[in-house]
Symmetry: C2
Subunit: 398 residues, 2 copies
């Protein structure tokens, strides 16, 4: 069977397999980034015009593009509706940007850890992934400068607000500094912000693209985390030099985004009832985050470290005694608990053991304690095995 | 600006530009493949469960996959629901198949002429396109055999039922013969059937994939031509050796197809009201086809030849005195008439002048005559210019 070279780089998707396992109703899943079912808003389709059933424009619905541009301008992003491309979920931006930039061996720059599906898309197209580690207030600036001095990546892919998987938020100072560095080295920025609206404490955090003065940029957003993921409506906003290429790639990929989802999105974006819904969502998720923080302190306090996330959907745990967390998965699923092994979020999984990504939005608070108790037991058991085999090894080595 | 090599192959989309021009309400558009507005069915969203708003499976909704498989089995395609992948429009299959097979220089085999967007997708990924001409009853078997003797294309892309743009339908004998040839040479078949259900005279026309005994295959279908294109719901059915790869590529592209459109599609597929709707659609489009046939005889009878299409949405005109029909576009649009120049459907446009694709579903019958009268005038004027300059050339050459 003669497939393309790229198919050899098509990894089995850990996410898909875990999510499939997590669909059994008895499983407590900390794995995905699924919105909580009770917070899916009630939507009405009554006033949708019949003409929405017809083919539409590849750019997206004009009124929705205007509403998205207005929301972005309110965040400080200078843009017009003509720069907005409505997508079949913001995931699609990763596919389009990969097509726009990546040949085999093209260098791209990523945070470590980074969003697993982005990594998969860039690697599928053959990218060489340069990485820069994250600190508590954002990307490591010294390493970033060093990378840019030696390399000329096609773009930098950053998730500055409630980063996935780490939950970190770049400080205002770091946002400015990153933009200045990208301008200095003439590197295009791909900024991904799916979680911006899921914020528990408001602080100044303008998008990094709003600080750029020279570099081209693409800003990605979605309605999947705040409205309904099943609509599959996301978007990108791009500088005018990039937009026409992205539009043609969008058209080649799937002609245009489904118009019923776009119509529904437009009923919410910028409205008073959307503001109220976001407010309720934040309160609800903050409570779940707090419940998980308590349960984590009880069950993981002695074996892991973490930051309290100020937004987004995830805790990012660093085990004090690292083990390969992919090994834990089977034992956890056997106990009806799902989570996301941290290794999957790194370009070099083997070198980054001992992290777990835990979603706090999906499992009901009254089941969280039990789920985390089981997961901690699985971790402790594996650490014991690991210590014992390490002990044997050092005995053998002695 | 360092883009990927593939972007140099990203052609400006003629379709997109013509469709944009055709959106002006005063334009009579014979260009697109848009369903007639009056035949967009009324749909109800009342009983859609709220849970449809959540993330879904990359494969598609299980009940919809089963309904699609059942419909395909009724056509003679041996398949299970597990082989069905629901797509964001069947256009997406072209993107996924390109990713699965095409590196720079990979040979693929196409009909000449063929669907413009398929050609664009394959060329974007760097394919070398081999072509085989069409005859009145389907692809030229002798040329097909000759091509397969000398080449080993990654797949053959065929549209055997109401081919786009030519409107041809492969005879039953040719379907079997093509399948036998592909089996003999071990070539994978990508069979695209968007227009199968828009049939005006039923004859035996089983999908070519149903005749294959050895070769792998992918069968593409859509609900865009018979239900609502704005839903963006299409599908592919693939042999089990190909399905897992296509599924992963689908997940990497956009996670999953929008679930609201999938839910709506499921309300129709296989139902009695869908059968009635299809019946009404066929009657309606047959009337429009007949109206266009009359108008064509009046205005194009002396300057073009064509077959009466037995299904689909298009007439394919061959000018008796060929001119580059792309040149006609501006003059036609200036007179508020849009059409699709035939050159765009060929791998070698310069070598195939003098064809026009005319859609008969969109323009109301009472305006068709006027639209075609204007278009014929534009053609005659260009032919006159062409004759005169040819005359000058032969004078100069003499």
């Amino acid at each position: 069977m003669a497939f393309s070279e790229r198919v050899d780089r098509l990894k089995s998707s850990l996410i898909r397999e875990i999510l499939a396992a997590a669909q059994r109703p008895e499983v407590m899943s900390f794995a995905g980034g699924l919105p909580a079912e009770p917070m899916l808003p009630e939507v009405s389709w009554e006033r949708m015009p019949a003409s929405i059933g017809q083919y539409g424009m590849s750019e997206g619905e004009p009124a929705l593009r205007e509403a998205i541009a207005e929301q972005a301008r309110a965040l400080g992003v200078p843009c017009a509706a003509s720069q907005v491309l409505v997508l079949s979920g913001s995931q699609q931006a990763l596919d389009l940007v990969s097509k726009l930039y990546i040949d085999k061996g093209t260098e791209v720059l990523l945070e470590a850890p980074t969003y697993l599906a982005a990594l998969q898309s860039f690697q599928l197209f053959g990218a060489d992934c340069l990485t820069v580690p994250l600190q508590a207030d954002g990307i490591d600036l010294q390493v970033l400068r060093a990378r840019l001095q030696r390399h000329k990546p096609a773009f930098a892919y950053l998730i500055p607000t409630f980063q996935n998987p780490s939950g970190m938020r770049y400080s205002a100072a770091k946002r400015e500094a990153v933009a200045a560095l990208l301008d200095e080295f003439g590197v295009t920025l791909l900024e991904d912000e799916p979680y911006r609206d899921l914020v528990f404490d408001e602080v100044e955090a303008r998008p990094v693209v709003s600080h750029l003065r020279k570099s081209s940029w693409i800003y990605m957003g979605t309605l999947s985390k705040t409205l309904l993921p099943g609509l599959r409506v996301g978007y990108l906003i791009a500088t005018p030099d990039l937009f026409p290429h992205l539009l043609r790639l969008k058209q080649a990929a799937d002609l245009h985004t489904n118009r019923i989802g776009q119509w529904q999105a437009l009923q919410w974006l910028g409205s008073e009832h959307y503001r109220q819904h976001l407010q309720a969502l934040r309160l609800f998720y903050r409570e779940r985050r707090d419940a998980m923080q308590l349960a984590l302190e009880e069950h993981f306090g002695d074996i892991a470290q973490w930051h309290l996330p100020q937004g987004g959907l995830f805790f990012w745990l660093a085990l004090k005694q690292p083990v390969d967390t992919r090994v834990l998965l089977q034992a956890a699923l056997a106990r009806n608990v799902a989570f996301m092994p941290g290794e999957a979020f790194f370009v070099e999984p083997e070198r980054n053991p001992g992290y777990l990504r835990l979603n706090f939005s999906h499992v009901a608070p009254e089941r969280m304690g039990e789920g985390l108790r089981r997961l901690a037991e699985v971790v402790r058991a594996e650490q014991k095995v690991w210590r014992e085999s390490a002990g044997e090894l050092s005995v053998q080595g002695a």
